[in-house]
């Protein structure tokens, strides 16, 4: 049962063609010619040697069943069976007439070697599927649901055969059969590989086949074109006009579809394929299962993945959380650290004694710490935490408690001290009694020492609680106000009652007094002669004047060493006392030391002003009214870290200490530049005002006391005050300035009103119509008044001197008005007033003006120059009048005669005078006879006598006498000239020469 070789096959094929398809080659058997005629056009295309199962389907089926089971053992068994039962047959592909393709089976009779057709033949169209089984050289063809299996030992033959079938199927079948186990391409390859192996033979055969094919195909084509084209065209609804490409596409589509169908049908019809399909199905289902499992696993893995992710996230979150919590913990612990105050601090604040230095220091530290805790740098969010706010509120509570305690303690301490001071004072008063009153004010405020101890705490309080700080300040002010009030009051009283000089020793500069005295004098006039009294007044005045100047010098001494010279020179006041015992009020005999009122004011101010300055500086420094800079620095301090803060705080405190390390009086007494901040200025003024509440009033009391008895002291006091004003004008001591200014103005008013009184007095003087004689009191007082004011003025050249100047002017004016009121009488009512009165007035004016002139000229006061020259003019004027009166009184006719001649001369020539009856030679002679040398001398003697009778002022008499001499001599000269002129030829002369006249004056003067 061996398969035939290729060559054998070729021979077989030849034989078959010769026997069965003789048409092609030489037909050998005639018997079959008829048959051949029928089969004339039949053509053998391909032949394959196959082995067929004898018992048709039974074994095949069982084999197939075995195959599906996949059991190899059964397969081997069956293969043995199958070898035995297979018959050798030939399958051939035959093309018949009209392109009908048939597959025919041919069998060979082994004995005869004749090939014959088997009964069975199949149409190509009936092929549903073809299966090729590679391992066993089997192949099966399913024809209309019936499967035939052939074994083909020759691979090549089989493949060629199948290839041909497939080719034909592809070409001529609408529905392609299914192929299992191979495809066209595979077949093609196979065929080609064979071709390569046997190039010559196969190519020959193929070319032969091809030629045949070609011929057949040509025919076929013609037929198909003729028969089908139209149908086809109709079928596919094609029109010549429509798109060819579309048609191509459509055709192509249809073709591919057909092809696909073919393939499908090939496969479908294959049983094994179905098996495979079912197996595949099961495999697929199994795979599905596995897929399900896999997807399940995948899902599970995914789940796990997400879980892991979640856990990771959680982990991360936890880490963040822990980190956050760590941070929070840190933050909170820091906060807690910052916000916890050691209990000892609180106990310190609550109970540490504030009376010892140590305790104060402790408290300072604690308070600072507390403050730092409160003002700690926490951001706003933290600050808004309830716990924090509560804690801070708690701190504020401590703070408030401590500040209360502190301020109470300070106040109590201060009160204690102030009580102490007052007690001591009381005691000392008791012990010293009235034996020795010392004009002293206490120089140092010991309460300051106490407050000073607390200065840091006070500063602390200022920053913590301004209200309490202010309260404390006010309390301090209240307490020391009590002390100062008392001190100043005592001082002022003491000064006023015991030390203040009541007045200048002289009273002659007071115009009012002058009037009183004048009244007295006029009363006395009735008893004694007026001249005596006025003389006595003048004398007294002069005495005093000397003393006055002595005092001047003395005072200058005391001024030069102002601070030490609290006392006045004893002798001075002694002498003054003895000399003017009648004028001075009896003084209390406790003290014989008197203070000149301006000096008293100076002393008072010197005593009190340093206290004021000290107090102001103290308050400014300790209570930090002016510490806006410090305030800021302490504010910024809190922004820094705590450690730095402490250091800085120390630094600041040290700086501060440098400023006020101790209560050094020198530092405290420093006078600073003006305070620029008006707020502080106002405040400190207010405070000072309330501390030295009564200072202003007491100062005014002192000033009033000083000027009460003698308002001219006001000028002296004004001068002193003015000095102070100048000193304190541009300083921070606004309070002092204001007070002093106020007092100064008060003094101005006092002085003004005093002067008004004086002016009134002078005015009143005018009305006294009682034949005044001698130097009038107003005139005699005025120089004293000037002296007094000048003395008080002390070379001042400011406001006070201005006031004084005005006063001088006004006074002089008044005086002149007064004098004018007398002279008015003379000039106006010439006739009413008799000669004697006129003469008296002249004398009065001359005397007064002379006095005024002389007295004031030597004082060299500029403002009075005008009045001095005025006085001189008046003096000259009245002197002239007086001289005339006096001379005409004694030599009336003599003078009148020549006056008449002079009058005539103005209209007539000198020569004509003699012709006038009145002035004839004879009358001249008779006149001259009456005034011989003797007569003249007598007349002059009388005149001189009168002179000394008229004038009380002795120094004035020679002056006037000289002036009269000159006047008279001038008259005589004039007379001589007239005689020579008018009576030139007569040789009549005066009885005396000018020399004789001079001798006469001399004699008279001497005789006196």
């Amino acid at each position: 049962m061996n398969p035939s070789s290729d060559n054998e096959l070729e021979i077989i094929k030849k034989n078959i063609t010769e026997q069965l398809f003789s048409g092609n080659l030489n037909s050998q058997s005639l018997s079959k010619i008829d048959q051949e005629k029928n089969q004339f056009q039949d053509k053998l295309f391909c032949i394959a040697e196959v082995f067929e199962e004898t018992k048709s389907n039974g074994v095949g089926n069982s084999y197939m069943k075995n195959l599906t089971k996949g059991s190899i053992s059964s397969l081997q068994k069956s293969s043995i069976e199958y070898k035995k039962k297979y018959k050798k047959r030939f399958l051939c592909l035959v093309v018949k007439k009209k392109w009908k393709i048939k597959i025919k089976k041919i069998k060979k009779n082994e004995t005869t070697g004749i090939y014959s057709f088997c009964k069975k033949s199949w149409n190509l169209e009936d092929i549903k599927s073809i299966e090729l089984i590679e391992k066993n050289p089997l192949f099966s063809i399913t024809f209309n649901s019936k499967t035939h299996v052939w074994r083909c030992p020759n691979d090549k033959g089989r493949n060629e055969f199948i290839y041909m079938i497939v080719k034909f199927c592809d070409k001529y079948m609408k529905k392609k059969p299914k192929y299992f186990g191979f495809n066209e391409v595979f077949l093609q390859k196979m065929i080609n590989s064979y071709k390569d192996e046997e190039v010559t033979e196969t190519t020959k055969q193929i070319t032969e086949n091809d030629i045949d094919n070609y011929e057949n195909e040509q025919k076929l084509k013609e037929e198909i074109v003729q028969v089908n084209l139209e149908e086809l065209l109709k079928d596919i609804n094609w029109k010549a006009s429509s798109d060819a490409t579309a048609l191509v596409e459509r055709l192509y589509n249809e073709l591919t579809e057909i092809e696909a169908n073919n393939v499908h049908s090939i496969f479908e019809c294959e049983e094994q394929a179905n098996l495979v399909v079912t197996q595949l199905d099961s495999a697929i289902s199994e795979l599905d299962l596995i897929d399900d499992l896999l997807s399940d696993y995948a899902k599970k893995l995914n789940d796990m993945g997400t879980d892991v992710k979640q856990i990771e996230n959680k982990n991360k979150n936890l880490q963040i959380q822990t980190e956050n919590q760590k941070l929070l913990y840190k933050e909170l612990s820091e906060l807690l650290n910052n916000l916890t105050i050691p209990s000892e601090i609180i106990t310190t604040l609550y109970s540490e004694t504030l009376t010892t230095d140590e305790g104060i220091q402790k408290c300072e530290k604690a308070a600072n710490e507390l403050k730092m805790k409160i003002e700690i740098d926490i951001n706003d969010d933290l600050r808004s935490m309830t716990a924090v706010t509560e804690k801070i509120n708690l701190f504020h509570g401590y703070e408030n408690h401590f500040s209360n305690r502190l301020s109470q303690c300070i106040i109590e301490e201060c009160k204690k001290e102030s009580d102490n001071i007052l007690k001591i004072k009381e005691k000392s008063k008791m012990t010293t009694k009235k034996s020795k009153f010392q004009l002293q004010i206490f120089t140092h405020n010991s309460i300051q020492d106490i407050v000073f101890k607390y200065k840091k705490l006070i500063l602390w309080l200022r920053n913590v609680d301004p209200i309490k700080h202010n309260e404390l300040l006010m309390n301090y002010v209240g307490i020391i106000n009590e002390i100062y009030k008392k001190e100043i009051k005592d001082y002022s009283e003491l000064l006023r009652f015991y030390y203040m000089e009541k007045r200048n020793e002289e009273t002659d500069y007071v115009f009012e007094k002058g009037i009183e005295r004048l009244n007295k004098i006029t009363q006395k006039i009735q008893n004694s002669s007026a001249s005596q009294i006025s003389m006595s007044i003048l004398k007294v005045g002069q005495d005093k004047k000397h003393r006055h100047f002595m005092k001047f010098g003395n005072n200058e001494n005391s001024k030069s060493n102002n601070n030490s010279s609290l006392k006045k020179v004893k002798e001075e006041s002694f002498s003054a006392k003895t000399a003017t015992s009648d004028n001075l009020a009896s003084l209390p005999d406790i003290s014989d030391e008197k203070l000149y009122p301006p000096e008293a004011v100076t002393n008072t101010l010197n005593a009190i002003i340093p206290l004021i300055i000290q107090e102001q500086n103290f308050i400014l420094n300790i209570f930090k009214l002016n510490s806006s800079n410090n305030k800021k620095s302490t504010m910024t301090l809190n922004d820094d870290k705590i450690e730095n803060g402490i250091e800085k705080n120390k630094e600041i405190n040290e700086n501060f200490d440098e400023d006020m390390k101790s209560l050094d009086v020198a530092i405290l007494s420093k006078v600073h530049d003006p305070i620029k901040d008006i707020k502080i200025k106002k405040k400190i003024f207010d405070i000072m005002n309330s501390i030295f509440e009564n200072f202003k009033n007491e100062l005014i009391n002192i000033v009033d006391a000083g000027s009460q008895h003698d308002p001219t002291f006001a000028i002296g006091m004004m001068v002193r005050l003015e000095c102070l004003l100048r000193d304190y004008k541009n300083t921070d001591q606004n309070y002092i300035y204001t007070i002093v200014e106020y007092v100064f103005k008060h003094l101005v008013v006092v002085f003004d009103s005093y002067m008004e009184k004086q002016f009134k007095a002078i005015d009143e003087f005018k009305n006294i119509r009682k034949k005044p004689q001698g130097v009038l009191p107003i005139i005699s007082i005025f120089p004293n008044f000037v002296d007094c004011l000048e003395y008080n003025l002390e070379n001042n050249d400011n406001e006070t001197s201005g006031i004084v100047t005005i006063t001088y002017e006004r006074t002089s004016k008044k005086i002149f008005e007064c004098i004018d009121s007398y002279t008015k009488d003379i000039s106006n009512d010439n006739e009413k007033i008799d000669e004697k009165d006129k003469l008296n007035i002249h004398i009065l004016i001359i005397e007064n003006m002379h006095y005024f002139n002389i007295e004031l000229a030597e004082r060299q006061i500029k403002t009075l120059h005008y009045y001095i020259t005025e006085a001189k003019n008046r003096y000259n004027h009245h002197l002239k009048a007086y001289k005339k009166i006096v001379i005409y009184k004694s030599f009336g006719k003599f003078m009148e005669f020549f006056d008449g001649i002079e009058e005539l001369l103005s209209t007539n020539a000198p020569e004509e005078i003699g012709y006038h009856f009145k002035y004839s030679k004879a009358s001249l002679k008779s006149v001259l006879r009456n005034y011989t040398r003797k007569d003249v001398k007598k007349g002059l003697e009388n005149l001189y006598k009168q002179l000394s009778k008229h004038f009380t002022e002795e120094s004035l008499i020679p002056e006037i006498w000289l002036s009269i001499q000159n006047e008279f001599t001038d008259h005589i000269k004039r007379i001589e000239e007239l005689i020579n002129k008018c009576y030139a030829n007569t040789n009549i002369k005066l009885d005396f020469t000018l020399e004789e006249l001079q001798n006469m004056y001399y004699d008279i003067e001497k005789s006196k």
Binding site: E375, D465, I467, N470, E471, G478, I678, K679, K682, D686
Partner: protein, 199 residues
């Protein structure tokens, strides 16, 4: 001395606190009231305290005026100051709308700290002499005052108009408050007693 002591203890002290934005004239008002002087220069206050003895409605009393800082940087220290206040003057400048807007914050802060809505408070519109620069109308301010249930007054520290009046008003308010507080205290005590009985 003794006299003075007793006086000091018996005369009531009213604590007024000046609040308001920076530069509205709290200090100017205070100084005008204290010293009768207008101060032109501006120097931001941190905190200044003043005391004055006044006679209000025939009654002698001390008034403590705390002039606080309007600047925002001092806001933290305000809290503590407010605690001691009995009456507040909420000052704003009629020429500055923002200062008016800030008034609300100040009032809120006061109410929050004192935990009381009816503290004596006065809304003060300062700088009314600068009428030509006015930015806040009287009606607006009055509306706000009505909302706060308090009075509104316009002042000028410069001219000075209404300065004494506004302080008199706040003192009166404080006095009233104190009186009513005393009353309520006594009634409260009674109530407490009653409660005790019931318990």
């Amino acid at each position: 001395m003794g006299k003075k002591k007793t006086q000091a203890t018996t005369t009531p002290i009213h604590k007024i606190i000046m609040v308001g934005a920076g530069g509205v004239g709290k200090s100017a008002l205070t100084l005008q009231y204290m010293y009768g002087d207008f101060i032109e220069e501006y120097d931001p206050t941190k905190a200044d305290s003043y005391r004055k003895k006044v006679v209000n409605d025939g009654e002698e009393c001390f008034i403590d005026i705390l002039d606080t800082a309007g600047q925002e940087e001092y806001a933290a220290i305000r809290d503590n100051y407010y605690r001691s206040g009995e009456g507040f003057m909420c000052v704003f400048s009629i020429t500055e709308a923002e200062s008016f807007a800030q008034s609300q914050e100040f009032r809120d802060q006061i109410c929050r700290i004192l935990d009381n809505e009816d503290i004596p408070l006065l809304l003060v519109g300062n700088k009314c002499d600068l009428a030509h620069l006015r930015k806040v109308s009287t009606r607006e301010a009055e509306a706000l005052a009505a909302e706060w249930n308090c009075q509104y007054i316009e002042t000028s520290a410069k001219t000075p108009s209404n300065v004494n009046e506004c302080y008199a008003m706040i003192i009166r308010l404080i006095q009233q408050q104190k009186q009513s507080a005393n009353k309520s205290k006594s009634t409260k005590n009674e109530n407490q007693k009653n409660c005790c009985v019931i318990l």
